[in-house]
């Protein structure tokens, strides 16, 4: 039975061609979210040794090709493997990765320079997107990384990225009151 749920979820993710949330999957399959979660974990595990991967951001899941196959897929789809990113873009991307969701103002405060153009570039490349609005005057946009970003780096989830040095981070929080 659990096997069935896993299979149904696999087929939905295949057809969806975009990230699908646990909530949506549990509604579609009339299953408890806990069972959906379990099935997704198993599926992620099953895929480890295969040509496909299950990637996750927050409560959303998607099936993509394994990074090892990138060369062949690029050839097949006649698609460039990676767009080169400049230092400024990588720096901004790093800030968004570890501080998401984050406003443009907060990014600029960290970088010390205006970051309008870079944010637009990253958005066009699909690596970041507006995830929500901050509940503050002017309702500023909050940016976050996308599934495209995980695909771009060839990682399964943000957890796979190296951690910001925790110790340093804590020290900064103490010294630098937001």
């Amino acid at each position: 039975m659990n096997e069935d749920l896993k299979n149904i979820i696999e087929s939905i993710l295949f057809v969806a061609e975009k990230p699908v949330s646990i909530k949506e999957l549990s509604k579609l399959t009339n299953s408890l979210t806990i069972n959906v979660q379990k099935a997704l974990l198993e599926l992620t595990d099953d895929y480890k040794e295969r040509g496909l991967r299950v990637i996750r951001k927050g409560d959303f899941f998607q099936i993509i090709t394994a990074p090892e196959a990138a060369k062949y897929i690029g050839r097949f789809l006649n698609q460039e493997l990676k767009a080169q990113l400049g230092d400024a873009a990588l720096e901004t991307l790093a800030i968004i990765t570890y501080k998401q969701p984050i406003t443009r103002m907060a990014i600029e405060k960290i970088r010390g320079v205006s970051s309008d153009t870079i944010l637009r570039t990253l958005q066009i490349k699909g690596l970041i997107s507006e995830v929500e609005r901050l509940d503050a005057p002017g309702k500023p946009i909050l940016y976050g990384t996308t599934f495209e970003f995980l695909q771009y780096l060839g990682v399964e989830s943000l957890d796979e990225l190296p951690k910001l040095e925790k110790e340093k981070e804590d020290k900064i929080k103490q010294a630098f009151k937001f």
Binding site: I63, L93, I95, T97, Y98, V113, L153, I172
Partner: protein, 233 residues
């Protein structure tokens, strides 16, 4: 003192400041910031015309000068605000350094040339589930249909010359043959109505005569002026 200034692209004043302290292999402290202040100012002077964010550079420069003054003259009394500002600069630079490091790690991942691809086929399975629109009945649809017909774009009238590319008798013969094979009988009037030009009517007529001669069809008319019916033999 001689400054060796490499002209580079800096992402901003913090980037420059970080590079200067790292060049000197210094930890980020107020003392080290004081040490690189002169160098920072020199850079601004040289780069002044090419700096996009000059005001941001000047803002940081002013804070560095406060830090340097405080380090050189410990007895200098700073206002609470000034003290906060220079503390903040130190913390900001440390945080910035953290993200610079993270960016380097992302760069390593990004340069692996390994990436995943999502499916983007838009090919959907042919599965349907009955899900009718709410508040729709046949009267509503009929009114909508009438409206659509009323608003239907008018048929464009093509110039006569274009239409005159006449159908050949051969084409007409096979057309009538096909139609007869399918429907067994045909109204002559239907063929006339279908014709796009007078020449086509003539061609149709000739084609029917040919088919009569070839005994492919026979013609029936029950009374004068009534419909002429073509029948396959």
């Amino acid at each position: 003192m001689v400054f060796e200034v490499k002209i580079e692209n800096f992402e901003g004043p913090l980037d420059l400041l970080l590079k200067l302290t790292e060049e000197q292999k210094l930890d980020i402290t107020q003392i080290s910031l004081a040490k690189v202040t002169d160098n920072f100012l020199k850079h601004i002077e040289i780069l002044e015309n090419s700096l996009v964010n000059l005001s941001e550079f000047l803002d940081i420069a002013s804070k560095l000068i406060v830090i340097k003054s405080k380090v050189l003259l410990p007895q200098l009394e700073l206002t609470k605000e000034e003290q906060e500002e220079i503390d903040n600069l130190e913390a900001r630079l440390k945080e910035y350094q953290l993200f610079k490091e993270a960016a380097k790690e992302l760069k390593v991942l990004a340069e692996r040339e390994e990436r995943g691809f999502g499916r983007k086929t838009k090919v959907r399975p042919e599965i349907s589930i009955f899900d009718p629109p709410a508040n729709v009945n046949y009267k509503f649809l009929f009114e909508l249909f009438k409206k659509v017909i009323d608003e239907m774009p008018e048929e464009k009238k093509y110039p006569e010359a274009k239409i005159k590319k006449a159908v050949s008798i051969g084409e007409k013969i096979s057309e009538i043959k096909l139609a007869l094979q399918k429907y067994k009988t045909l109204d002559f009037g239907y063929l006339l109505k279908k014709a796009k030009a007078r020449i086509e009517i003539i061609v149709s007529f000739l084609a029917i005569l040919e088919l009569l001669k070839a005994k492919f069809l026979e013609v029936e008319q029950s009374a004068n002026f009534s419909e002429i019916i073509l029948k396959i033999i």
